[in-house]
C-alpha cells in the first residue's frame, strides 16, 4: 500500500508540472500548425480591424449545465448588450463549438455553481519576472472576464493572459465592465484564430495566451509569458489525490485492524474493483512479475477513474482533467518510461533486430515500424483517453447549447423552453454513457499499459 501511495504521488507531481505548462487548448474552432508565426504577424495589427468576424459564446442570461465554467445567469440584459469604448458590443451570435471548447478548458478560477473562487496565479514573463497573486485581483465577472488588470495580466474567459504592449500600465488597473473580449483574427488564407483583447483608455490592446510545451503542435507555442498557476485542473487533481490517499490509507489500516474479519465500509466498494483490475488487467499480461507492476497500474487506474468521475459532478467546477492533453501525455509518458526501462534483452532484440527474418526486410520494414511502434503506443494511450473524455463533455455542452440555438439566444423563449426539455433528457442520457466511459477508459488505459509492459518483460520461449 505504501508503494501505491508513492506511485500516486509521482503521477500527481508530474501531472501538476505538466498542467502548469498547459494551454487549455486553443479556443478557435480550427486547429492549425502555424499559429506561433501568426502571433508575430498580429502584433502590429492593433487597431482598425473589421469587427464582423468575432463571435464567442452568447452573453445572454443563460445557465449552463454540468460543464459550465461559470454562471452566466447573473447578467442583466441591458448590461449584456453594452458597447464598450472600443466599439465592441457585448452581444454576439451564439457559437456552440467555441462555447463548448471554452467550457472544457482549464481556468484560473474555480466555479462551484454560481460562485467563483479565486486561485493562486504564478506567472512568469521573461524580462519581467515572477508575478504571484490571487486571481481574485482580476475581479472576474460572470463570464470569467476580469474587470481589473494586474501587472499587465488580464483574465479572459477564466484564463490569465498578458497584454502584449509594454506601455500598458502595471499594477492594478480598473478596466470596467466588458473591457475584455475575444475576436477572431485571420492568420492565413481562410483561417482565423481567437485572440483576447482588452479595451482601456479608448484603445484596443491585444493580449497573449500562455506558453505551451507543445512547440506549436496544438496551436500553442512559446509566447511572452509562462503560467505555473494552480489552475482549476490542478486543484481538482489535488482533491482527487488527497481523497484517494485517504481512502487507500484508511483501507490499509482497516486490513490490519480487522484481520480475518469481513471488509467494512468503503473497502467493500474499492476491493472488488481493485481485485478486478488485478485479475483481469494485470495478471494475464504480466505473468509471474505482476506484483512488481501492480502498484503503478493500480495507481494509474484509480487516479484516472477518480478524475473521470470527479469531472462529471455537475456544477462542481466542471474540471476536465482527463480530457486534457497534457495530463494524458504525462500518464502516457510514464507508461512509456516504465515499458522502456523494464524491457529485457528479448524485447529489444525483437524490436531492433528481429531474429529469423532476412536482413533487408529488417532494415527496410521491420525495424523502422517497430521503432515507430514504440512511440505510437503511448501516443494512442494519450489520444484515446483525451478524445473519449473530451468528446463526451463536448456532446453534453452542445446538447445544452441546442437550447440557445433554437431559442435564438433569448429572442425566442418558447422554443428555448421546449428544447430545454428534450436537451435535458439527452444530457441525462449522455451523462450515463459518460459514467460508463469513465470506467471503461480507465480500464482500457490500465489494460493496455499492462499489455505493453507485459510485452517488454516477456521471457524468451
Amino acid at each position: 500500500m505504501r508503494k501505491y501511495i508513492l506511485s500516486l504521488c509521482c503521477i500527481f507531481c508530474l501531472s501538476v508540472f505538466a498542467l502548469a505548462q498547459h494551454d487549455g487548448h486553443n479556443h478557435d474552432g480550427h486547429k492549425h500548425a502555424k499559429e506561433t508565426q501568426a502571433t508575430d504577424h498580429q502584433n502590429h495589427n492593433h487597431e482598425g480591424h473589421d469587427h464582423s468576424g468575432h463571435n464567442h459564446g452568447s452573453h445572454e442570461g443563460h445557465d449552463h449545465g454540468s460543464h459550465a465554467g461559470h454562471n452566466h445567469g447573473t447578467h442583466s440584459d441591458g448590461e449584456g448588450h453594452a458597447t464598450n469604448a472600443c466599439g465592441h458590443s457585448g452581444h454576439h451570435e451564439f457559437n456552440p463549438g467555441e462555447t463548448a471548447f471554452h467550457h472544457i478548458s482549464d481556468q484560473n478560477i474555480y466555479s462551484i455553481g454560481p460562485f467563483s473562487f479565486p486561485l493562486p496565479c504564478f506567472l512568469y514573463a521573461p524580462g519581467h519576472g515572477w508575478d504571484v497573486f490571487s486571481s481574485g485581483r482580476f475581479h472576474a465577472d460572470a463570464h470569467g472576464n476580469g474587470e481589473k488588470a494586474y501587472n499587465q495580466y488580464i483574465l479572459c474567459e477564466g484564463v490569465a493572459r498578458r497584454v502584449l504592449d509594454a506601455s500598458f500600465p502595471t499594477g492594478e488597473v480598473d478596466l470596467g465592465h466588458h473591457a475584455v473580449y475575444t475576436k477572431q483574427l485571420p492568420i492565413e488564407k481562410g483561417k482565423t484564430k481567437e485572440y483576447a483583447f482588452v479595451c482601456y483608455n479608448g484603445k484596443e490592446w491585444q493580449a497573449d495566451t500562455k506558453s505551451t510545451a507543445d512547440a506549436g503542435m496544438f496551436g500553442g507555442g512559446i509566447t511572452s509569458f509562462y503560467d505555473f498557476s494552480i489552475t482549476k485542473n490542478v486543484l481538482s487533481m489535488i482533491f482527487v489525490f488527497l481523497f484517494l490517499a485517504w481512502v487507500f490509507m484508511s483501507m490499509a489500516k482497516s486490513y490490519k485492524v480487522r484481520r480475518g474479519m469481513a471488509p467494512k465500509g468503503i473497502t467493500n466498494f474499492i476491493e472488488p474493483i481493485f481485485i478486478f483490475i488485478q485479475d483481469e488487467a494485470v495478471k494475464p499480461f504480466l505473468g509471474h512479475k505482476w506484483q512488481k507492476y501492480l502498484p503503478f497500474l493500480q495507481s494509474i487506474f484509480f487516479f484516472i477513474l477518480g478524475l473521470n468521475l470527479f469531472g462529471q459532478i455537475p456544477f462542481f467546477g466542471g474540471s476536465n482533467v482527463t480530457g486534457n492533453l497534457s495530463f494524458t501525455a504525462v500518464l502516457a509518458l510514464l507508461a512509456f518510461l516504465v515499458t522502456t526501462f523494464s524491457g529485457n534483452k528479448h524485447y529489444w532484440e525483437h524490436t531492433l533486430w528481429m531474429p529469423g527474418v532476412p536482413a533487408i526486410v529488417k532494415i527496410l520494414v521491420l525495424t523502422p515500424v517497430e521503432i515507430m511502434g514504440l512511440f505510437i503506443k503511448p501516443l494512442t494511450l494519450m489520444l484515446r483517453l483525451f478524445a473519449n473524455i473530451t468528446a463526451g463533455h463536448i456532446v453534453i455542452a452542445i446538447f445544452v447549447g441546442l437550447i440557445f440555438i433554437f431559442g435564438q439566444s433569448g429572442a425566442n423563449p418558447g422554443a428555448a423552453y421546449g428544447t430545454a426539455i428534450g436537451s435535458t433528457i439527452l444530457t441525462l442520457f449522455m451523462m450515463s454513457i459518460e459514467l460508463l466511459v469513465a470506467f471503461i477508459q480507465a480500464f482500457v488505459f490500465t489494460i493496455l499499459t499492462a499489455s505493453y509492459i507485459g510485452a517488454a518483460v516477456e521471457e524468451a520461449h
Binding site: H30, K31, H32, A33, M217, E280, A281, P284, I376, L379, T380, L381, L383, R384, A387, I440, F443, V444, I447, L448, S451
Partner: protein, 68 residues
C-alpha cells in the same frame, strides 16, 4: 456551409473503426452465446481489441486536424 477535405478523412477513419468495432462486438456476442462460461475472458479481450482499433481511428482523426 464550409468545411474541408480533412473532415471527410476523419469521417472515413470513423467509418472504418465503426465497422471494426461492430465486428468485434458481434463476434464477441456470438462467442459468449456459444460459451457463456468464458464471458469474462471474452469481455476483456473485446474491450482491448476495440481500444486498439479506436487508437488507429484516433490517430487518423488527429492527423486530419493537423493538416487542417
Amino acid at each position: 456551409m464550409t468545411g474541408n477535405i480533412a473532415a471527410i478523412g476523419a469521417a472515413l477513419a470513423v467509418i472504418g473503426a465503426a465497422l471494426g468495432i461492430g465486428n468485434i462486438g458481434g463476434k464477441a456476442m456470438e462467442a459468449i452465446a456459444r460459451q457463456p462460461e468464458a464471458v469474462n475472458d471474452i469481455r476483456s479481450n473485446m474491450i482491448l481489441m476495440a481500444a486498439l482499433i479506436e487508437g488507429a481511428a484516433l490517430i487518423a482523426i488527429i492527423l486530419a486536424f493537423f493538416v487542417n
